[in-house]
Symmetry: C3
Subunit: 471 residues, 3 copies
Amino acid sequence: MSTELLVHEDRLFPSDPGVRALARDLYAGVRDLPLISPHGHTNPAWFAENEAFPDPATLFIQPDHYLFRMLYSQGYRLEDLGIPRLDGGAVETDTRKIWRIFADNYFLFRGTPSRMWFDHALSFVFGIDKGLSPETADEIYDTVEEKLAKPEFRPRALFDRFNIEVIATTEPPNDDLRHHDAIKASDWGGRVITAFRPDPVVDPEFAGFADNVGKLGALTGENTRTWPGYLAALRQRRAYFMERGATSTDHGHPSALTADLSKADCEVLFAKVLTRDHTAAEAEIFRAQMLTEMAAMSLDDGLVLQIHPGSLRNHNKTLFETFGRDMGADIPMQTDYVNALKPLLDRFGNEPGLSIILFTLDETAYSRELATLAGHYPTVKLGPAWWFYDSPEGMLRYRRAVTETAGFYNTVGFNDDTRAFLSIPARHDVARRIDCRFLAELVAEHRLGEAEAAEVAHDLAYRLAKSAYKL
Amino acid sequence: MSTELLVHEDRLFPSDPGVRALARDLYAGVRDLPLISPHGHTNPAWFAENEAFPDPATLFIQPDHYLFRMLYSQGYRLEDLGIPRLDGGAVETDTRKIWRIFADNYFLFRGTPSRMWFDHALSFVFGIDKGLSPETADEIYDTVEEKLAKPEFRPRALFDRFNIEVIATTEPPNDDLRHHDAIKASDWGGRVITAFRPDPVVDPEFAGFADNVGKLGALTGENTRTWPGYLAALRQRRAYFMERGATSTDHGHPSALTADLSKADCEVLFAKVLTRDHTAAEAEIFRAQMLTEMAAMSLDDGLVLQIHPGSLRNHNKTLFETFGRDMGADIPMQTDYVNALKPLLDRFGNEPGLSIILFTLDETAYSRELATLAGHYPTVKLGPAWWFYDSPEGMLRYRRAVTETAGFYNTVGFNDDTRAFLSIPARHDVARRIDCRFLAELVAEHRLGEAEAAEVAHDLAYRLAKSAYKL
Amino acid sequence: MSTELLVHEDRLFPSDPGVRALARDLYAGVRDLPLISPHGHTNPAWFAENEAFPDPATLFIQPDHYLFRMLYSQGYRLEDLGIPRLDGGAVETDTRKIWRIFADNYFLFRGTPSRMWFDHALSFVFGIDKGLSPETADEIYDTVEEKLAKPEFRPRALFDRFNIEVIATTEPPNDDLRHHDAIKASDWGGRVITAFRPDPVVDPEFAGFADNVGKLGALTGENTRTWPGYLAALRQRRAYFMERGATSTDHGHPSALTADLSKADCEVLFAKVLTRDHTAAEAEIFRAQMLTEMAAMSLDDGLVLQIHPGSLRNHNKTLFETFGRDMGADIPMQTDYVNALKPLLDRFGNEPGLSIILFTLDETAYSRELATLAGHYPTVKLGPAWWFYDSPEGMLRYRRAVTETAGFYNTVGFNDDTRAFLSIPARHDVARRIDCRFLAELVAEHRLGEAEAAEVAHDLAYRLAKSAYKL
């Protein structure tokens, strides 16, 4: 691997010299804008406690299911990568050994975004200009380890250096948000807000659902064994989250189904799911109803409602039983929006002040259902290319499929949506480059003026995320 | 916005200089060919009466759901845009005020085909070289208004200037086609033909279905309360339409489902739908059967059968109740063809003389089902990229997905499919440019010879539409 | 058609001069690598008997459903092309006349891969540099006919000249594989292996299923009227095929459905399908169970399991009744993998040593389901773009959709998958060119180093097919 590749100045720009020059110009206007990160999964404890990050393997590999899923696909056991087993069984603890497995197999990531993010982090964060390989594994391990011990590599210092204007974490309703309180109480000025992710208390198939609802009652003083008490408790927690900066809720359901049941039906269904006396179909309807309830609450409190549907979580049964959730075995499914969202939209689709941001793992929905919904309903906006599609090709397909019907202004800018803190600058940089590339192509083909394109580039990189998420 | 953008000579061509030169050459060979418009929704009264068009807002904005859906998506009320309410409630009547809303928000259309069509109309039809913006709004309004009052901006003059060789309108079976008769009787030579769109009398869920069937009986002297009488009446109206130039029928069903029921079953089903004693599933089967009946009639009379399936019409309940149909809230759905068309194709799929043109709003069907069906069945051809996909990216995706399996000669050239008369030259121009661009890429990559490409370009721009629609 | 087009040295490379130069360099490194053909449908009798191929029409047109489906779609009768009717009715026997129909309509293939393969065969195999047209039809017919009579155009000579290192044919379990034995016993060194395609004995809807299972019993001495005897017979035949070089099995089911029934349920179901006392749904479940049984056997004997789902075979009823299977009327359907494969993967998805290669005719599954499954499960790899997508655009879409999630190393190189022997060099050449083009684009956009790209190009053209298929 040639070292200059790690962060080539023109990476991701079109190869045609004329279009590349346009892309460069547009990018120059947005590359140094602050990062708005309205949806993600970083750990607020990092910023509250500001401890040094652990060793390179524990920092990079173990929390990143993009990385270990690829190694797993080629026959490595998760135990070999130090992923903890639920039964506490033995796993590799020699982090340098784990790092070498990664380095030996780094070629597997050719052509993937993980490769780009990792190279960018090495270069941008650690000043390393050599690519990872079996030959450089130890040297890079040592350099990263040494730097991580320094004060300027602690979470808050990196946050500042990354030029993050605001970042949202994601917490469940029963979280006490103590880290957010600690950050606020500290003398550090970084803006870290929470987001309200109620899956554990609104999804009857979430592990421990009934217990979670019980704790929600204990926490709020509401009787969450009744439907009205349950809703009141949720409302109370939303307010609690809003006091810690939350501007949005997030919903990770298997589908985008919504429902609009009568209060009587809701009460019957709630009693069933609380006592686990429900079918899979009833669990689905309950989640569907809860999306509509969340929209109703958003009408009152103004939280932006995000729907992230379409993943069949924990597809690998053995892995789930051995290691638990989020082990890189979530597989997207066909996802319907046009029928699924109708009950919610029939009730609230035209309400001024309500804002719903839709995401998808089914790219076929972009031009067919999502751009058409976002291009019509005042309440609906379209989130950026998500998860497997948070990638150069994914983002290009997104803009090409969406723009002609929804325009740019029914989209909401970029989400990094990650727990891999060190990849955040790289991810925003990829989005800015790809958007500038797309715009440069429009300019080169005389579909957009250059001054307009510069304005749109700024909107996509900064303004739209701020306004869509009320930041 | 730079003024030169409005109609740059090289718009939509590839940016690579070599390929652009090839595209230019191919385009030069087709740019001035007459326009064949075999399917669309212009109002025949325009050409019959040849009155001046109304003011700019009423001309451009109010009939164009592409335009007002975007404004609606950003929070404007349809009342503010002068769209009439069903209850006769107050709406904005100051057309200059409506125009200013449009101008203030014209940036929303960046990257959309509406922007391209509108700019083209300003420049090509009205000779305006400034882009619409808050600053130019009044000046452009005045210029357009002034020109619309002149004889050379009346419908017939524009028709001639647009170089339209033939245009088809679309009418329901109970229409008396008086405007077509008037055009024929006039001294004007423009060729305006009708097309037979029987949805109001073959779709049990169409508003007023039973009444419409009753009127069909009155109009034809057939007893449309019986299945044979109903079919005979339809046959009679098809003949009436053919006398007014019709060469095609058109069917806008929710799905592409076809059926092949026994006569006895048809009679039972017809009785049900006529008395509204049917389920939604029975309505769907009735429509399905009627596609097959229409194919049977086409075998006799030669009308080309067009199927436009896959839109969930009037998705926005409140808007539908307040303003009626066609308010920009039609959302595409997943659409199956392979199973849906089998009953019809099992019966008629190999009949010489029958011609079925398929359209889709589900782009995933292009390469999977539509190109494979059109590349095999002698009765099946594939219509152009439709509706939301009547756009540069949409057309490119279409050619790239379809050509390798169906070739060029199982497609039928371009349809403008619009009621926005002033956008017709722009739409054909976009199609010609994109087809030439696609062909130029094939030539540049040595997949097609240049002389062959020129022949194909001519076929796509002119010949195929004439032959596929028997014009 | 300009003659230089037939095999332009730069065909399929990107038009940008810089990227084209990169593509050329990468291609130069792989163009002369031996061909690995791990899955296809050539006739082993050709290589066993080494007889001269028949006349041009019989060689090129009649066995190639890509060619005659296009002619059929434009109104030619299959009888006119010499395709034998099941009833023995009269068909055209004048092969020169058939050839002229093809030549007259050769323009229909513009933009299709058939055109590219045919031109390549004319030029590369027969040294003809004129394109086929009405004017050149007879001359080309004569030249091809004359050459086919020469020794150096016999199957073995062409095999050697094509630089085929190994080719797999496909046979049903009851085949005696005598041709493979004859090849092995001959003094010719070409490596022709078989592959085990059990559809006729595992698909209850395959013509003659029960008879086939009976013959399987007779052949193996097992009692195939019992479930254990049936499985034992299949195991025995797999061993028989492995002795003739087989390294893989292949399964052409309508869907990718798998099942994991109890032994008791299997016995009941087997009794039903054997006596034709089954519903369509039960036939589907039986096929689903048999995929899982085949995976179980693969765990023992190491055969690689290929799944080719998603085609609605013989869609054209009349054609099927008149001419039989494989008449160009197989139409792809929407295909689910994420739910369909779960039963099999729940049981065997993490087994070291098992290898499953997935194919699709539903391109929407690439990024959504297939890259995500292959990028996680150690047992799952992704086969190349298949059938209608074995084409330049199809392969580009494949790489663009798949690589970012699955990388290159969860794919398996190229399959020609053809019975058109003379097209094999062309098909591999297209794949190599398109892969080099894709890689050149990554290099030009600084997403991959040039040396790395060269290594990947070699892997895609040669190494991956050998390792994935254990060749």
